[in-house]
Amino acid sequence: MDAEAWKKRYQREKSARKAAERIAEEKTREIFFRNQELTKLAASLEEAVKERTRELEKQNFSLEEHRDKLKNQQRMLQSTNQALEEKAIELEKISRYKSEFLANVSHELRTPLNSTIILAKLILDNSEGNLSADDLYSMSVIYNNSNELLEIIEDILDMSQVQAGELSIHMEDVSIHELCQGLEEQFRPLADEKSLAFTIDVDTDLGEWINTDRKRLKQILKNLLSNACKFTPEKGRVALRIFRDVWNPDTDYTSECLSFAVSDSGIGIPVDKQQTIFQMFKQVDGSTSRQYGGTGLGLAICRKLSDLMDARLTLVSEKDQGATFTLSLPPGSLLPDAADHNPSSMNNDFFLNTVEPDSDEVFEFNQQTVLVVDDDLRNSFALSQLLQKHGLKVLLSENGRQALELMETERHIDLVVLDLMMPTMDGFTMLEKLRSEVEYRMLPVVVVTASASAEDEKRCRLAGADDYLSKPVEAPELLSCLHRWL
């Protein structure tokens, strides 16, 4: 190869080298920029990670704060709850104290009232015919006021029992006829006194028997009728209607129920007061109490009792247009009229004292000996007066121990009238001791006590009492009871 050819080749090689160098430089530059991008990306990623970390830290912090706040709230709630629980326990205690207090007060009030009523009735009878008309009038005032007082006491006791949840309902079969008779007897004299037209209408399509709480139903109806008589001026009208009714007229499902509507032509109740009169101690206004008397408990008790019986107590009235209170017993109260109904079933073991005594009956005894055990001398005195007057011999003891001691020497005792709350030995203990001796196992014992709760009655009967009467006892009621056992 000659020099010229070598030179050409050299130039070619040199150009190739330069081209390679250029390519390499371009690549290097590219790598540099790529690298720079990567660095930037890495930095931005790093920054993003940092930012995210900061955010997470912030979130974490706020979560912790939130958690602390929740914990605090929880603590506060817990302490509030605890305070509320303590308050509830305290309130329950107070409520129990109140109920106990009312029961005690009621007992303490009944005891003196018992003797007052019995003695007043005895004097009113004027068996020796030596009392003046004024004396008799005064005595009738004492007698009537005592009875009124008793009703108020019973209202208060009922209310406290309702509030303490101690009042229970005893369902039994009740004769409508008998119910109406009782109400008629009680309210006819009252209506006559004010020249009110008083009617009791029972729809003919009703059967004889209904199933309900006899005592409570009567209590409600008496209350409503007594209010109707009280708030109706002379020569007005008071009516009780008993009829089949529609139970829940507001819903698609309807069934038949039994309604008692007590209506009057009295002063009526303004619409805006129609709810408040069902509240405790509330009357239409302050002047009502001044003009007509009353504690404002009656309707509140009626409403509560009605609720307890699953019944409905409603009112339709306008001022000066009279009022109609309707008590609707739930559908279950209506019984199919069965011929085999045993009237004695109403003489439920536990509620003998609810039997209305036949006031016309005259009880004469045959000098049987009755031991009256009562620490209240006024009571003993009143009782012995009454019993002696009806031909009974009476022995007195002031407590259970004294009575047991007396019974060791005095063997001819035909019946014991026993008070419960007494010093030294109470009635329960005495009953138990008496029943543990064969000799006295069959001796009739009638408990007469001012403790009016159903619980006490049950306890007495379990301890062996043959009968149970709560003070104050109406003389005919007591005599009728003793008559059964002698």
Partner: protein, 182 residues
């Protein structure tokens, strides 16, 4: 020192003198690299000094003049190879001002191990500028040649007053006072 200085130097020797002269000085220099230069490599600046000395001996020209001439030649080559550096640059002073903060940075992008001289420009007037050159290599003359090449490129009539400074040895530091004549 960057390989481009070596390849361009050898190019200049081949062009201004001859391929044979180029071969002769490379053989005589007895170089560590054997003169196998590529612009991508990095070589000891002693080699180029060695080659300049040999060329001076061979040609009978002053080494300083040769270095200056090489600088001038090199600028021309740069203008060809790196035309992109000249976009939007309208005067020699503008270009010189860009060298430190633009071109040297671009160089370092490609060759992170490059160690270019430190240049500081002071514009005293519109047509007057001072350039301070400092390097660990004694290439103040090459720098001067580059300035001349720059003036030539921009078609400018530039007087250059070079003041040598001690630096780390002769030719390593200098101040160039330049004035542009219209």
């Amino acid at each position: 020192m960057k390989g481009v200085i070596f390849t361009e130097f050898m190019e200049m020797v081949e062009q201004k003198f001859s391929v044979d002269v180029a071969e002769e000085i490379i053989s005589a220099a007895n170089l560590e690299s054997n003169g196998e230069y590529t612009s991508l490599g990095t070589y000891s600046h002693e080699e180029v000094l060695n080659l300049v000395t040999l060329l001076s001996e061979k040609s009978g020209l002053e080494a300083g003049d040769l270095a200056l001439a090489f600088g001038e030649y090199l600028f021309g080559r740069f203008a060809t190879i790196h035309a992109d550096f000249f976009h939007g640059v309208s005067s020699g002073f503008d270009f010189i001002e860009k060298v430190e903060d633009y071109i040297h940075i671009e160089v370092q992008k490609l060759y992170p191990d490059a160690n270019p001289p430190k240049l500081t420009c002071t514009r005293e007037a519109d047509d007057k500028m001072a350039l301070h050159y400092r390097s660990h290599r004694p290439f103040a003359s090459v720098a001067e040649g580059l300035i001349k090449g720059c003036a030539a490129h921009f078609n400018e009539n530039l007087t250059i007053d070079r003041q040598d400074l001690p630096g780390v040895g002769p030719g390593t530091e200098a101040r160039f006072l330049m004035e542009r004549k219209s």
